[in-house]
């Protein structure tokens, strides 16, 4: 008995190991036409049953319209997770169609982790209406590696309710940094726990927001040839000096360092933070994920903006996909993400589901005919106070988008130090912080070639 138990265990382990290594085999439809199975990322989580049902309905409708194509969905949240991205690709578990944030375009494309989809772009019916500068972000040497899905520029998200309580006019949000500073002081003066202006300082988010701020002031992170750091400049110093003064002179930034994306979002959702740099999706996330009251939030243009860091995401195709899978994947993207009134642009359905509709969180189609049609449909079905986002929409149209610097994550890690320096030390020497960061960045860039 004992002997057989041991053997059984060993056999079971061997069998389970073999099972782990197995893979699906191709098949064909009853009519003999080759069938193809694709996996697609970003199915809503089970905790959002209405959205998930809407997704499943879309999958069913797509499969009905495309006989022979089977769509399998994955609901990993967030859709893109850098921690699992490489291992999933290497282990053959990456979806056929996956999403990549703009921050990671360079890494994914340069490492050959996305398929060249140039020959399939015609499958996206509105391809030519996508903003050319956004398409350029997924293009390398004339080859297209993705379908832009979301694009936005950075603005100033603010809490209208706090503005009112502090005696400020929520319909006339700040347009200069001096006005931001004054407004922050008044909001912080509302009492303990109130923060006039929130900002990140670590986990690479500090460097990311420094880049947003320096771009907005007309500065740069790297020289034009990308070989040297360019942030040790008057614009860079102004960014840090302004933060330092708000934190230590005005005492309008609270006394807690904020590390990581969710820390500031959580604070914003609590309704005690007056302003932060952010895109319209901040409003959506604050409302959906951090229990913020939707009517409290507005967004305006970046103060004194000369340029804006591009944000967003694109869908890419697994480099291991067969031509049939790549074609089916692009058809799915066209159906679900790029058709007016369908899939994610089915705002009427979103309204019936109770989703927040109306946030101008995506200008991937710009003011093209498709973009105008989407915007009109969005406004028609809006469930949110769209007037609150008017200042942002008007400002964003006039600000030039600017792409992230090369080696963004390495640079953000370096710039985190300067950001946390001014926000954690009253005696921080800004020249020294920027000088040290420049030395480190130059060394890193030289090593990267």
């Amino acid at each position: 008995m004992q002997r057989s138990t041991g053997l059984l265990l060993a056999t079971a382990l061997c069998l389970s190991a073999a099972a782990c290594g197995s893979s699906e085999s191709p098949s064909s439809t009853a009519g003999g036409a080759p069938s193809v199975t694709i996996t697609v990322a970003c199915q809503p989580a089970k905790s959002a049953p209405k959205e998930r049902q809407a997704w499943d309905d879309d999958v069913a409708a797509f499969m009905k319209a495309h006989p022979g194509v089977t769509v399998k969905s994955t609901d990993q949240q967030p859709c893109f997770d850098p921690k699992t991205f490489g291992p999933k690709l290497a282990g053959g578990q990456m979806e056929t169609v996956f999403v990549v944030p703009v921050t990671n375009y360079d890494d994914v494309i340069s490492q050959g982790q996305a398929l060249d989809v140039s020959q399939y772009t015609s499958l996206i019916k509105n391809w030519n209406d996508l903003r050319p500068d956004v398409r350029e972000l997924v293009t390398r040497d004339g080859k297209v590696y993705g379908v832009p899905n979301v694009h936005y520029s950075v603005g100033l998200v603010y809490n209208r309710k706090l503005f009112t309580q502090a005696g400020l006019d929520p319909d006339a949000p700040p347009t200069t940094w001096a006005e931001v500073r004054e407004a922050a002081k008044k909001i912080a003066g509302l009492g303990p726990g109130h923060v006039g202006y929130g900002e990140y300082s670590g986990g690479n988010t500090g460097g990311w927001h420094f880049t947003q701020a320096i771009y907005g002031r007309g500065g740069a992170v790297l020289t034009d040839d990308g070989k040297k750091a360019a942030f040790n400049s008057p614009e860079g110093k102004a960014v840090l000096q302004n933060l330092h003064d708000m934190r230590w002179v005005d005492n309008s930034m609270g006394n807690k360092l904020l590390v990581g994306w969710e820390s500031l979002m959580m604070a914003m959702g609590s309704g005690k933070v007056g302003m932060m740099l952010g895109a319209p999706d901040v409003v959506t996330d604050v409302v959906n994920k951090f229990k913020g009251n939707v009517s409290d939030y507005g967004i305006t243009g970046f103060p004194e903006a000369k340029a804006s860091l591009s944000g967003g995401e694109a869908f890419m195709i697994n480099p291991k996909a067969t031509p049939e899978q790549a074609k089916a994947g692009m058809e799915w993207l066209d159906f679900r993400y790029n058709t007016v009134g369908k899939g994610r642009f089915d705002f009427a359905r979103g309204k019936t589901l109770g989703n927040p509709v109306g946030v101008p969180d995506n200008d991937v189609y710009g003011d093209s005919p498709t973009g105008k049609a989407i915007q009109a449909d969005r406004e028609k079905n809006a469930t949110l106070p769209v007037a609150n986002y008017g200042p942002y929409v008007r400002a964003a149209a006039t600000i030039a988008p600017k792409a992230e610097p090369k080696h963004a994550q390495e640079l953000y890690a370096i710039l985190d130090v300067a950001m946390s320096g001014v926000l954690s030390r009253q005696d921080a020497n800004i020249d020294e912080l920027l000088g040290d960061a420049q030395t480190k960045a130059d060394a890193m860039l030289a090593a990267k070639g």
Partner: protein, 287 residues
């Protein structure tokens, strides 16, 4: 042949154990060793790059700070995490009442998932309504910035780590203490030894091997500190809490530079191997 047949069950279990170790421990180590000499995107065949990954890791701006922070964290964690559990175990061993209850209380933090414990401490350290500053205020002491100052962030992480890991160490020390023959203490008492002399001349010599083993295990564990800086400080402020393991994570999953992460991992492994070998040799000589 007969012996083999008789021991078939044992071989079955041995194979299963070897299989698990091979797949989940040895193979990843070998793979990491190979990876540290390669440049790979995990898709295309990797390129052999010699020592480039090691050079790049050493040249990283945070490399020196990461090692200094890790060594400082290890020393501070040992100071607290090595001595405190031993003292707690001594006290628990001397108790006559409520010993089981207190043992449970001491071990309780180990049963909490590390993430939960870390999030709990995030609230304790909050410079506003946090528990620690409330206590300081109650004692008429000025508040501290805890995680938000480069001068207190690392020691704050040590406090978290000590609290999280103290229970296991205490129980191991307690088990060792309970194995000391009581007649040794009786003899010492008859010789007029007080409590300090009993600890010095009976307890410590009798638990010497466990103490040395725990020293090695704790150094190996604390040198790999990751969860605390990852969850609480993001390596900041001003890189004051960047550890070697955190930097490794940054290389691999922020910068997608798996080879460089592997190289740094190999460096850490070599340092720990050298230390462990030295420690084992010392222990063997003492034994």
């Amino acid at each position: 042949m007969g012996i083999v047949r008789r021991n078939l069950t044992a071989y079955g279990f041995l194979c299963a154990a070897l299989f698990c170790f091979t797949v989940f421990a040895w193979y990843p180590m070998v793979r990491e060793f190979i990876l540290s000499f390669q440049k790979t995107d995990l898709i295309n065949p990797p390129d052999w790059v010699g020592l480039d990954n090691f050079k790049a890791a050493v040249r990283d701006p945070a490399f020196g700070e990461a090692w200094l922070n890790t060594v400082e964290f290890t020393l501070l964690a040992l100071l607290c995490g090595y001595a405190v559990p031993f003292v707690v175990a001594l006290v628990l061993n001397e108790l006559r009442h409520a010993r089981a209850y207190l043992r449970f209380v001491v071990y309780l933090p180990v049963m909490l998932p590390p993430i939960v414990a870390v999030l709990l401490f995030r609230w304790f350290f909050d410079p506003g309504p946090g528990l620690f500053n409330q206590v300081l205020g109650f004692l008429n002491l000025p508040p501290l910035a805890w995680l938000d100052s480069s001068s207190t962030a690392l020691i704050s992480l040590v406090i978290v780590s000590t609290w999280m890991n103290m229970g296991s160490a205490t129980l191991i020390y307690l088990a060792a203490l309970q194995n000391i023959p009581p007649e040794l203490y009786e003899a010492a008492e008859l010789d007029g030894a007080g409590i300090m002399r009993r600890i010095r001349h009976v307890t410590i010599p009798q638990t010497r091997l466990i103490l040395l083993l725990m020293l090695m295990l704790q150094i190996v564990a604390t040198m790999q500190v990751f969860i605390e800086p990852y969850m609480l400080t993001g390596g900041g402020p001003e890189n004051a809490t960047v550890s070697v393991a955190y930097l490794m994570y940054q290389f691999a999953f922020s910068q997608m530079n798996y080879g460089q992460a592997g190289a740094l991992g190999m460096m850490l492994m070599i340092v720990l191997l050298v230390f462990a070998a030295f420690q084992l040799r010392t222990t063997r000589e003492d034994a």
